[in-house]
């Protein structure tokens, strides 16, 4: 908060002391609750349109030109729908779950920097805070699923809990590599560590071998954490109706959706911050408008990440539960642990060109071996117990 506070304190010099503080607190909050839900609303529209195009059809195009008012219509519809609570539901927990689903997702944005010095709260434990908060979201899923007194909800909740707990491990370990390279947990420092030799692009962690692996690991983990396709088994429609939010209707359902999408967007933002150089890009040091250019770069990268998510959702099939667990523990976890060791190697090798080659070779070899192992496990002949 310091940086915004300093800026505002400069503008309001001589005014009562509490005024800049209050503004410094109010502005980021208003920004978070104003801008990101708007992004959420239009993400749903873009997602529906893009998925439509992927599936050779138009997306929503009836409400307003190009369906531009569709999110508004959706919101109105959900607001006016009847709110149904199952008779046997645990009423209080049932009510609390959607509320809790949104809180962690909103809190996540507190540590995402959008321009130099412009981060809602500059925590020195930034990344750790993000992980701590994001695990709390699993509680909402569990509460919603358990309180509904519906077997599909409960199954969805169990799946959600198992999945989130499993994928958090490789995700956090992938982030540890970044923290080691940047030497700080603060998101602002991590972004700053990605400039190299005055160039705003070359230093992005995604362009280092370990950074690329970390990026892939983290992106997969983020996708699984926010339960998006191909990891949407907690709410797999074709298997368990809607999983933990089967028994939710009206605005409570909307809150679940809001929480889920906000978490996905926030995770995309954190991915951008950690691996894609955050707000870094050409022209961010131009006086006066540099900050806007930086914000532009950040939101551009954020948009690209969201689009990548949508593209993946439109393409990949849902994984099976056993594949999900096997993938997390047998492929992602060894890779992420190896990645940490490789970052250490990178740190202590002076010649960065040589280090690039060596680390790339190590990681490439590890990937090939892991692929061989997991493929060997996968193609074992299928036996049928009753059919033969």
């Amino acid at each position: 908060m310091e940086t915004i506070y300093q800026l505002i304190a400069g503008w309001f010099a001589g005014k009562p002391e509490w005024l800049p503080l209050a503004i410094a607190i109010a502005v980021p909050i208003l920004f978070i609750v104003g801008v990101y839900p708007a992004i959420f609303a239009y993400t749903t529209l873009v997602e529906r349109k893009a998925l439509g195009r992927v599936q050779n059809r138009y997306g929503p195009n009836r409400v307003g030109r190009w369906g531009i008012l569709q999110p508004l219509a959706d919101g109105l519809k959900l607001l006016t729908k009847e709110d149904i609570v199952p008779r046997d539901a645990d009423k209080f927990t049932h009510f609390l779950a959607p509320v809790i689903a949104v809180i962690p997702s909103v809190l996540l944005f507190a540590i995402v920097p959008i321009a130099p010095g412009l981060v809602p709260v500059n925590l020195n434990i930034g990344i750790l805070f993000a992980f701590a908060i994001s695990t709390a979201s699993v509680l909402a899923l569990f509460m919603g699923g358990w309180a509904s007194r519906n077997k599909f909800s409960l199954l969805g909740a169990m799946r959600a809990v198992a999945q989130v707990v499993s994928y958090e491990v490789p995700m956090v370990l992938a982030a540890v590599a970044v923290v080691m390279a940047a030497g700080s947990l603060s998101t602002l420092d991590i972004v700053k560590a990605q400039t190299r030799g005055g160039l705003e692009i070359a230093g992005w962690f995604v362009f280092q071998p370990w950074g690329f692996v970390g990026f892939v690991l983290f992106a997969i983990g983020a996708m699984a954490e926010s339960a998006r396709t191909p990891f949407d088994i907690p709410e797999a429609e074709s298997e368990i109706i809607a999983g933990y939010h089967t028994e939710y209707s009206g605005f409570k359902f909307a809150l679940f959706q809001l929480g889920e999408y906000l978490a996905a967007i926030a995770m995309a933002g954190i991915t951008v911050t950690m691996f894609l150089g955050g707000y870094l890009g050409p022209g961010i040091h131009i006086p006066y408008i540099g900050g806007f250019i930086a914000a532009f770069w950040f939101f551009l990268k954020l948009g690209c990440m969201i689009l990548l998510n949508i593209w993946i959702r439109g393409t990949w099939p849902r994984v099976r539960v056993d594949q999900l667990m096997g993938f997390a523990w047998k492929v992602l976890l060894p890779m992420s642990i190896l990645n940490i060791a490789v970052v250490g190697l990178w740190h202590f090798m002076g010649n960065k060109v040589l280090a690039w080659g060596v680390t790339a070779a190590i990681l490439g070899l590890a990937f090939v071996i892991l692929a061989k192992i997991s493929a060997a496990g996968n193609i074992e002949k299928r036996t049928y117990r009753y059919a033969n």
Partner: protein
Amino acid sequence: MGFLGKGLFQGMAVTARNFVGTYFDRGTREKLVTYQYPEEKPPLPENSRSFPFLVYDGTPDAMRCVACKICETECPPQCIYIVMDRDEKGKPQQRPKVFDIDISVCMQCQICVEVCPFEAIKMDNDYEKSQYGRFDDLIEHLPDLLKSNEYYNEIKPTEAKAVDAKLKAEAEKKAKKGTSKPAAAAPAKPAAPAPAPKPATAPAGKITIPEDAPFTAEQRAWLAGFLSAGGVATSGTGVSPVAVAETTGETPVPLPEATPAAEAPAGGWPWHDPGLGMSQRMDLVKAAPLADKLMAAMAQTDCHACGYDCRGYADAIAAGSETDLSLCLPGEAETAKKLEELMKEAGKL
């Protein structure tokens, strides 16, 4: 070169191609297959069908339907309701006054089309039938059902052409043959059981159209012209309609002038009224000859389902040239039973 996850990227290339392709589709519907329904409608294949409609030639008054009620009888879910039209004197007109189809019940089976001997009912392909009411709004009445032959030609050109050609051929044959009055009116040797060709019978002299014959003014005018043109003669070859049907495989031409009203005595046939109940008709016909009794037992819609008109069928049975007593479709089991009863009474069975 294969590597773990190769298929995933190939899949993403496919979806990307589809995504981009939709923006360059330009109406070929190769990538963007959607028809935006209310604005764009996909062309319907000729053989698509929705609900039945009634065909008319020229003006809606000249509908082909003669209210024979065969379709009403045959419709599996019983969704057709027909009331025959009558003039002021209560004489049946050969046209429906009420013709309702409940499209919430109709299962679009096309059976009504198959059984109609007059090519009067055909399957439509208009599927936009939603209504605001659940009950009365879903019943189609006569005005909704009537559609022109041109419309029929438009939606199903091949089928309609075939129907038109058939009707035309029949009309021509009819014109050649003169009247289609059944030649079996005067019984031949009663002992002859086989439906062998019978000698021609003399026409009943000059034929006038009785006042109460069930014709519309238009039909009457046409018929008068037709008769005065000298067409009323015995059928050229002296072959009975049964034989015609047997040799050509066709039902006798079902046109309005086929009504045997010409043979009715001056007082008409009081029982020739499908609106009456069976017992009433039997009362009226008590003193009449067997053929009349048989006729009165029929549904008397002159639908030609049996291969005759009602008069012809009754005469054929009485003469013994027709042994199947269950041919009267509109009369259903009641008629068949009554016919058998009457024949037994007369000692002919």
